[in-house]
């Protein structure tokens, strides 16, 4: 029994040489292939290729044996391992066969197809081997989004970004949105379903609580007694330090985050706001909101298609600005600041992008009543500036179905109290600008009563200057 166990240990020891040695026959095999297909065929080169193939076969078999030894460690997902193992054995068999055929000088078609088959088998084996070591998403994980688009691969998941951005941080679940992405990024490539170094998995709450071969790794409330934290804090040269040498270490902020989470109970359900925050964690948390502007409008949760460049170009020809509101969003802001002379005729082109427009700034333009129905057909409109235009009370009626409109600027228009009723019907409305209109104070009061939630700006009413105690202004020297 003891002997068997010692044998097992030796197997695993030699197994660790598999990832090192295996690259040698891979390179040699491809070299043989290159010589076979691309170099001038002479009897001399034939002999050389055969000799390379013999060595390749020998190293392949040794590597495969070592691979089998490594498999005994039990750190890999059995299913993925099976595929790699049988492909590896196939490669060895093919290699033996190919060497024999080549040596025997059999016909070209047979050798060529066997060669191609072997190299193909080798490539696939290698790929599965790589997946075992680095994780199945390793190869393309850092492909930029533009490349993903071209290849039709779905966008990188949160885990691949440096610090995932969280819109509503206080409401975020600490484990799901902060801890898990971090573990996925830095830990689970070795502690996952397929590969369990130290018999530990860190990919689900259950397995995190279960711990590894030396017992639990998390001691709730006691970060410094938790293996999960202790290992991170060890000196980088310590053999128990995690992640091991060669893998990307956790940053100080990341360690602080895990420490904070364990310290406050290593809970899997609690929100950021439910854990007490301190000076150390504040800047760490702040990093999660650096790139985020809280966009309260529900519009921003929707996805719209990119506006057609040709449509935008036509709109821009009129001097209108029509640009995405940000680099990563397809919503469009239209601004007529450089086109005070546009009228309904030119604005008609906006109908092509009506599904994308969220901000429409038509202040000081010649827009008139007929265009209102076009505006009403912009379902995602959030901000509408119609200041200093000729629009009337009657025109506002057409806007009442805009479901997301939050702000309307009517400064300098002939709007009167009568038009305010239609504004009151726009449920999503938050801000109304009515300065320099015919709206009276009474009208504003009525609107205020109908919609106490509205912020109504009807112009500055204060009496300035305000008095300053004049004695203080000329103090005695």
């Amino acid at each position: 029994m003891i002997i068997a166990e010692a044998g097992q240990q030796w197997l695993i020891f030699w197994g660790h040489f598999h990832p090192m040695l295996v690259h040698l026959p891979i390179g040699m095999f491809f070299m043989a292939g290159i010589l076979h297909f691309f170099a001038k065929q002479t009897s001399e080169s034939q002999g050389l290729i055969v000799r390379i193939l013999m060595w390749t076969t020998a190293f392949s078999i040794v590597s495969a044996a070592m691979g089998w030894g490594l498999a005994q460690s039990g750190e890999y997902d059995p299913d993925a391992l099976q595929i790699h193992q049988w492909l590896g054995i196939s490669t060895c068999v093919l290699s033996v066969g190919l060497t024999y055929v080549m040596r025997a000088g059999m016909n070209h078609r047979l050798t060529n197809s066997l060669f191609v088959l072997s190299l193909l088998c080798l490539t696939i084996t290698g790929h599965y081997g790589g997946n075992l070591t680095h994780g199945s998403d390793y190869l393309l994980s850092s492909l930029p989004s533009s490349g993903r688009k071209v290849l039709g691969i779905k966008q990188a998941e949160e885990a691949n970004k440096a610090v995932p951005q969280i819109a509503n941080l206080p409401e975020a679940i600490v484990y799901t949105q902060l801890v898990k992405p971090l573990l996925t990024q830095k830990c689970t490539s070795c502690h996952n379903e397929q590969k369990q170094k130290g018999k530990l998995r860190l990919d689900t709450p259950e397995f995190i609580l279960l711990g590894g071969e030396d017992g639990p790794v998390v001691s709730a409330g006691k970060p410094l007694e938790s293996e999960l934290i202790k290992r991170l804090l060890l000196d980088a040269s310590d053999e128990h330090h995690m992640p091991p040498k060669g893998k990307t270490p956790l940053t100080e902020n990341e360690i602080a985050l895990l420490h904070w989470w364990v310290q406050h109970g290593a809970d899997f359900k609690k929100k950021v706001s439910e854990l007490p925050s301190d000076e150390r964690i504040k800047p760490v948390l702040a990093a999660y909101t650096q790139g985020v502007v809280s966009q309260e409008s529900p519009v921003y949760k929707q996805e719209v298609d990119e506006a057609d460049e040709a449509d935008l170009a036509r709109i821009r020809k009129h001097g209108l600005m029509a640009n995405p509101i940000s680099k990563d969003q397809n919503f469009i802001e239209v601004n007529a600041i450089n086109a005070p002379r546009v009228t309904n005729k030119e604005l008609a082109d906006l109908s092509k992008i009506q599904g994308q427009i969220v901000r429409l700034k038509l202040g000081n333009t010649g827009v008139s009543g007929d265009f209102i129905k076009e505006i009403a057909a912009m379902p995602l409109l959030i901000q509408l500036d119609l200041n200093h235009t000729k629009l009337t009370d009657q025109d506002l009626v057409g806007l009442k179905n805009l479901a997301y409109l939050e702000s309307i600027n009517l400064v300098g228009t002939p709007i009167s109290d009568r038009g305010l009723a239609s504004l009151a019907h726009i449920k999503s409305l938050k801000r109304v600008y009515l300065w320099q209109t015919r709206v009276t104070e009474k009208g504003v009061a009525v609107l205020k009563k109908m919609r106490p939630d509205l912020t109504i700006q009807s112009g500055f009413k204060g009496r300035w200057p305000l008095e300053v105690d004049s004695a203080k202004l000329t103090p005695t020297k």
Binding site: A286, I337, N338, S407
Partner: protein, 483 residues
């Protein structure tokens, strides 16, 4: 043939070549991203329009009311009654710690604490304490966010102002406005993205220098354009006598042709920048006179800003002009108002300075608000550092001075996504050190850029072999300031 080829290549320096190669690919991508019209072949739109932010911006434009010379926080926004109680007593060493002092007070053997000469009052629903010499700003307390914990690295005006404006104490980096111009461009194609207005108060003044609004290593089209208070708000903008519009146009066309030829030969990007600047100046010839004509502002607006706003070159006039520029789509309007350097005679100087800026600063915010523009315009008011809580020179009850203090000082911001009606940060009872929520200049820059939809770590420019940004290698966005 081959010779000619090499001759041309020789005109390009190695660094320039690599810079250009990078700009050719990266720049093309950036350009098309920020200025979609850029590659559409439409000459009139070529030089400018709107950029696209990294993420949806809260603020579209900035008006920076820089109070040059460092107004005292103790007589404005950081209410410290303890200083009045302890007036005349020495600043304890435990509070001062290792803080270095300027040459002006380093040799003082006593550091007598001094409280505010003026009373403070709580304002608005927020109950923000504001000194009585700023009654108008007090009246809009619910629209502003007072930051009481600004801190800087520099202790003298020149490096501190340079740091505040460019993120570095040495004067070779682009100013905040230049970065905004570079990142976002101008909204109005007839006006530069970055404009600068200068004024001088009645207090002890400190200079302003063109390095504060420099484009640094960025293309010179991003440099701040200074408006003067003279008859010609922008010097040399108008056509000389005897030259009509058509003649001007012909001249510019010919000149551009020559410049393009020159560019083809020497590949100096500044040649192209020059052409763009000529074109901008041409377009400004009609846009600027309209803007700078304040006579058409209605009476009630003049009454808000105060009668001084009709006197060109005053702070009030500049603030009103700043509103007009911003309203017209100028991305970044920078105002400098000198006269806050009260080393002595503070009670009197501070009151005069406050009188100059209080009403019009408050009017600007109120005016933007009634126009529906405050939501997307960020207004910043403040200086380059604060002043000491102890007296410089001889202390008497109604006359004292204060030296420079970099550790903690107050500014305020309004509009553009800032949390209105709040006070951010806390200083100790003597106002000397930050005890809660510090705002370093780098954090301030990061936050302002964030409000503009810019990720401060991503807006970079490669120069002398490395990438620079406004916050260089520091700065955190402060969510506590953002609504």
């Amino acid at each position: 043939m081959e010779n000619e080829f090499f001759k041309n290549r020789l005109n390009i320096t190695r660094r320039h070549f690599f810079g250009q190669a990078a700009a050719g690919i990266g720049g093309l991508a950036l350009g098309s991203l920020l200025v979609p019209e850029l590659f559409k072949g439409d000459a009139s739109a070529q030089s400018l329009p709107l950029g696209v932010a990294h993420f949806a911006p809260k603020a579209k434009r900035v008006i920076y009311l820089c109070q040059n010379g460092a107004p005292s926080q103790y007589e404005s926004f950081d209410y410290k009654p303890m200083l009045n109680k302890m007036a005349g007593q020495d600043l304890p060493d435990s509070i001062r710690g290792t803080q270095r002092l300027t040459g002006m007070t380093a040799s003082q053997d006593k550091f007598p604490l001094v409280g505010s000469y003026y009373n403070f009052k709580q304002h608005g629903k927020s109950g923000t304490y504001i000194s009585e010499i700023f009654p108008h700003i007090g009246s809009i307390a619910d629209d502003i966010c007072v930051i009481r914990t600004m801190s800087t690295d520099a202790i003298n005006h020149d490096p501190a102002l340079t740091f505040l404006q460019t993120g570095a104490q040495v004067g070779n980096r682009p100013s905040m406005g230049a970065w905004m111009s570079y990142g976002l461009g101008s909204e109005n194609k007839n006006l530069p993205a970055f404009c600068v207005l200068l004024s001088r108060g009645r207090g002890n003044g400190q200079g302003v220098y063109s390095k504060l609004w420099t484009n640094g290593f960025l293309d010179s089209t991003h440099q701040g354009v200074v408006f003067s208070s003279s008859e010609d708000p922008i010097l040399y903008l108008n056509d000389s006598d005897g030259i009509d519009k058509a003649g001007r146009r012909r001249m510019l066309d010919q000149l551009a042709e020559l410049n393009h030829e020159g560019f083809a030969e020497n590949k100096d990007p500044e040649v192209e920048a020059k052409v763009q600047q000529y074109e901008m100046a041409y377009r400004m010839q009609t846009a600027v006179p309209e803007l700078t004509d304040l006579s058409k502002e209605p009476d009630h607006i003049i009454k808000m800003y105060g009668p001084e706003c009709l006197v060109p070159g005053t702070y009030a006039a500049n603030v009103l002009l700043a509103r007009k520029l911003s309203e017209s789509g100028v991305r970044f309007v920078q105002i400098y108002h000198q006269g806050w350097d009260s080393h002595g005679n503070l009670p009197q100087e501070m009151a005069m300075q406050a009188q100059d800026v209080d009403r019009s600063s408050a009017a600007l915010i109120t005016d933007l608000k009634q126009r529906g523009l405050l939501d997307e315009t960020l207004v910043i008011w403040g200086g380059e550092f604060g002043r000491t809580n102890y007296c410089q020179g001889k202390y008497t009850v109604d006359n004292y001075g204060r030296d420079h203090h970099p550790r903690a000082y107050s500014i305020f911001m309004a509009g553009g996504g800032v949390k209105a009606g709040t006070v951010y940060g806390e200083t100790d009872e003597l106002g000397y050190n930050v005890v809660k929520d510090p705002v370093h200049i780098h954090d301030f820059h990061a936050t302002v850029q964030h409000l503009m939809g810019i990720n401060h770590e991503q807006l970079t420019y490669k120069h002398l072999g490395r990438r620079y940004r406004l916050t260089d290698i520091a700065g955190n966005v402060l969510p506590g300031l953002i609504a």
